[in-house]
Amino acid sequence: MRRAVTAAAAALLLPAALTACGGDGTQQRAGGPVEILMWHGQEDTSAKSIERLVATYNQTHTDVKVQITSGGVTADGMLPKITAALTSDAHPDIAYLYGSWAPNIARNPKTADLTPYIKDPAVKWDDFWAGERATVTVGGKVIGFPAVVDNMVVLYNKKLLAKAGLEPPSKDWTWDDFRAMSKRATDAQKGVFGTTWPISGGEEAVWGLWPLVWQAGGEILTADNKKAAFNSEAGRRSLDLLRAMAVDDKSVYLDSSPAEKGQKLFESGRLAFFLSGPWVLPDLQAAGVDYGVVQLPGTAGNHETISGPDTWTVFEHDERRVKASAAFLAWLTAPEQQLQWMKDTGSLPIRASISQQPGYGDYLKKYPGIDVISGNLANAKRVRPPTTSYPRISSFVADAIARTLLGRADAKSALDEAAAKTDAALAVPGS
C-alpha cells in the first residue's frame, strides 16, 4: 500500500522535478537516466563506504542512477532473499553474492551475461586476479564483477605467545610448528587455547581444511568434478593434524556457535592463533589486540591458502539496465574507487594495478598486517570446485570434520564416509 502511495506521489512529482533539470520527464525510456537497484549486503563501515561511493557516482554520472539498499540482510542471508526475488521478478539489478553460490545462481535464466561488456578495453578485465575472474565466469558466461577478495591467514596474539615463551611464527613455519606452538600456548586452567575451529556444520568449518589438503598435494574433487578426491592421503593427513591438536593436545577451542565466538575469544586474549581473513582487522584494532599476521603454516615448503571471492552479480530486467549495471560496476571496481573502499574497510585489492595508485601506502599504513595478507594472494592458487553440488558436499565434509575433532571418528573413516556421500551426490544427473 505504502509503496503504491509513494509510487503515485513520485509519478506526480518526478516529471516536474526532471523537467526543471531539463530532462524529458520520463524514467526508464531512451534519453532519461537508466535507474538500477543494488543490494549491497554490507555492514556498518562497509555499508557507509559503498553508499558514499554510489553517491559520488550518481553525482558524476547523468546517464545512470543507482539506487542502493542493503537488501535487508547481511551477505550471509542474501541467498533466500535473492531466490525469492528471482522467483517473483522482484530482483535487483545487482546483488552482493558469495562466489560459492555462483554455479547455482548462473542457472537462473535471469542472471545476466556480461561477456560483451567486459571485453571493453576500458574495463581492463585481465587486471582482476585470475581466481576472481574464474569465479564469476560460469560455463563461459560472465555473470558479474568481482566484489571482494580475501584469503586465509593466521593471526596471532603477540602477548600470549610471549607469555608462553614463544617467538612469533616465521613465514616458513610448518604444520608441526603450528601444532607444537598451539600446545605450548594452551593453558586450560586459565581458559587459553592454541586456536579455534568451527564445528557448527556450515562452510565456515570446511574452507579452512582445503588449503591444508592442497598443500599436502591433494584435491577436493577429481579433475572432471565427478568424484570426491579429498579422502586421499593428503586429506587424511590434513584432518589428522587438526584431530591431533583437538583431541590429543586439547589445544583447539571447538566453536559450535554460528555467532563466531572464535573471533570474540581471540579479541579477549583467549586464543594464541586465529585462522581468519582481512575482514577482522578493523575489529581487532577496535578491541586493541596486539596482533601479528603470518601466512598459513605449510608442509614441504608449500603455504598455499584459500580465497573466497565475493561477487557483484548482475540480473536482467532489460538490456539497457544490464548495460547500465555493467557500466556502473566497471566504475565501482576501477582502481580509484577500490582504493577508497579498501581504505574504508580494510579489504584487499581486487586487481593488480591498485598497488600503483598514489594512496596505496596510506592504506598499508592504516591496516598493520594487511601487506602480509595482500602478499598472501600469491598463495591463493586454487578455488573450490565450481559445481552446483558444492554446498551439499561441504555439508558432508563439515560433518566429518566435526566428528573427527570431537574424537568420535578417525580422520580416514570420516573422510571416506563423506567421500561416499559426495560421490552419490555427484552421480545425480544435472548436478
Partner: protein, 309 residues
C-alpha cells in the same frame, strides 16, 4: 475443539422455522468466520499446492526443475540426514512434551495457593516466554558453552565433571530441548494455572473430607479437571516442536555433526543452502502428513478417553 460437535448440536435451539433459521445461520456463520479463515487458507492453500508440485521436481529454485515423479520421496528412505532429523525431532518431542505437561501442572499446583509473594514467583516463571529466539540463543549460547559457559563453571565448582553441552553431538540436542523448555514452559504453567483456578474449592475439600490423600486428590480430582487443557497444550506443544527452527538457527545451525538438525531446519537447508528445493518440499510434505496423523490420532484418543469417563 474436542467438543465442537456437541457445541454445534446444542447451538440450534430456537423457535423460528427451521429452514429460515438454517439459512440465517449459514449467512451469519460465514460472515463471522469468513474473513479470518479466508486469510489463513488463502495464504496457505496456494503455497501448499505450489510446494506439492515442487516436491515432484528436482527444482533448485533457480532453474525450472525437471519432473522426477516420486523420486524425491523415494530418496528420503535412504537419506541418513533425514533419518537423523527425524530422530532429533522425535527426541525433542518425547522429552519436551511430557516434561512441559508434567512440570507445567506441578508448578501450576505449587503456584495456585495463597502464599505471600506468589505473584512474584508466578512472574518469574512466565518471563522466559517473552524471550525471542534471537535473545534466547544469544544468552543460552553463553551459558551452555562447553569451555566458557556459566553452566560448566558451576558444575566444576561443585566438583562435578564438565559436560560437552552444545559442542557434543550426544548432548547438543538435549541442551536445545532445555532451552526450548525454558522459553515455553511458562505458557503451560499459565494455562494450567487458569484451569486450576476453575476447580471449585468445594470439590477439593469434599475429596479431602472423604479421606482422599493429597496425591489421590491430585490424581482423581485435579488431573481429570484439567484434561481439556492438557489436550490443548499437547496439540499446541506438538505444533511448536515440529516447527522448531529459530533456536537452531541462533544457537548451533544444526551442528555439531548434524546433531541438532530438526526436520524444518533440514527443509530450510535443502531449499536455501543445498539448492535442492524439490527434495526439501518432499521432506516438508512428509512432515506435514506425519504431524496431521499424529494430531488427529491424539485428538481421537483424547475424545475416546473423555467419552469413557
Amino acid at each position: 475443539m474436542t467438543s465442537t460437535a456437541t457445541a454445534l448440536s446444542r447451538a440450534s435451539r430456537h423457535t423460528t422455522p427451521p429452514d429460515r433459521r438454517k439459512l440465517a445461520d449459514n449467512i451469519t456463520g460465514w460472515t463471522f468466520a469468513g474473513p479470518a479463515t479466508l486469510i489463513i487458507l488463502g495464504f496457505s492453500l496456494v503455497p501448499m499446492a505450489w510446494a506439492l508440485a515442487l516436491s515432484f521436481t528436482d527444482s533448485d529454485l533457480m532453474s525450472p526443475g525437471r519432473n522426477v515423479g516420486l523420486e524425491n520421496y523415494r530418496a528420503l528412505v535412504a537419506d541418513p540426514v533425514f533419518h537423523q532429523a527425524l530422530r532429533n525431532t522425535a527426541l525433542l518431542l518425547f522429552l519436551y512434551l511430557p516434561a512441559s505437561l508434567v512440570a507445567g501442572l506441578a508448578v501450576a499446583v505449587l503456584l495456585n495457593r495463597k502464599v505471600r509473594g506468589i505473584g512474584f514467583y508466578r512472574t518469574c516463571f512466565l518471563v522466559p516466554y517473552v524471550a525471542s529466539a534471537t535473545a534466547a540463543g544469544l544468552l543460552m549460547g553463553y551459558i551452555f558453552d562447553r569451555d566458557f559457559g556459566l553452566f560448566n563453571g558451576m558444575l566444576v565448582k561443585l566438583g562435578l565433571p564438565a559436560q560437552g553441552l552444545l559442542s557434543s553431538p550426544s548432548q547438543a540436542m538435549l541442551v536445545l530441548t532445555v532451552i526450548f523448555f525454558w522459553t515455553r514452559f511458562g505458557f503451560s504453567v499459565v494455562i494450567y494455572l487458569a484451569a486450576l483456578q476453575e476447580i471449585s474449592k468445594e470439590v477439593v475439600e469434599a475429596a479431602a473430607i472423604d479421606g482422599a490423600g493429597r496425591w489421590a486428590t491430585f490424581r482423581h480430582v485435579i488431573v481429570p479437571s484439567v484434561r481439556h487443557m492438557t489436550v490443548f497444550l499437547a496439540v499446541w506443544g506438538m505444533i511448536d516442536v515440529l516447527q522448531f527452527f529459530d533456536l537452531v538457527m541462533t544457537t548451533t545451525k544444526g551442528g555439531p555433526a548434524n546433531a541438532t538438525v530438526t526436520i524444518v531446519y533440514y527443509v530450510w537447508q535443502l531449499a536455501f543452502t543445498y539448492f535442492t528445493a524439490g527434495y526439501g518440499a518432499a521432506v516438508a510434505y512428509v512432515l506435514f502428513a506425519g504431524t496431521l496423523v499424529l494430531i488427529v490420532a491424539g485428538l481421537l484418543l483424547a475424545r475416546r478417553k473423555g467419552a469413557m469417563r
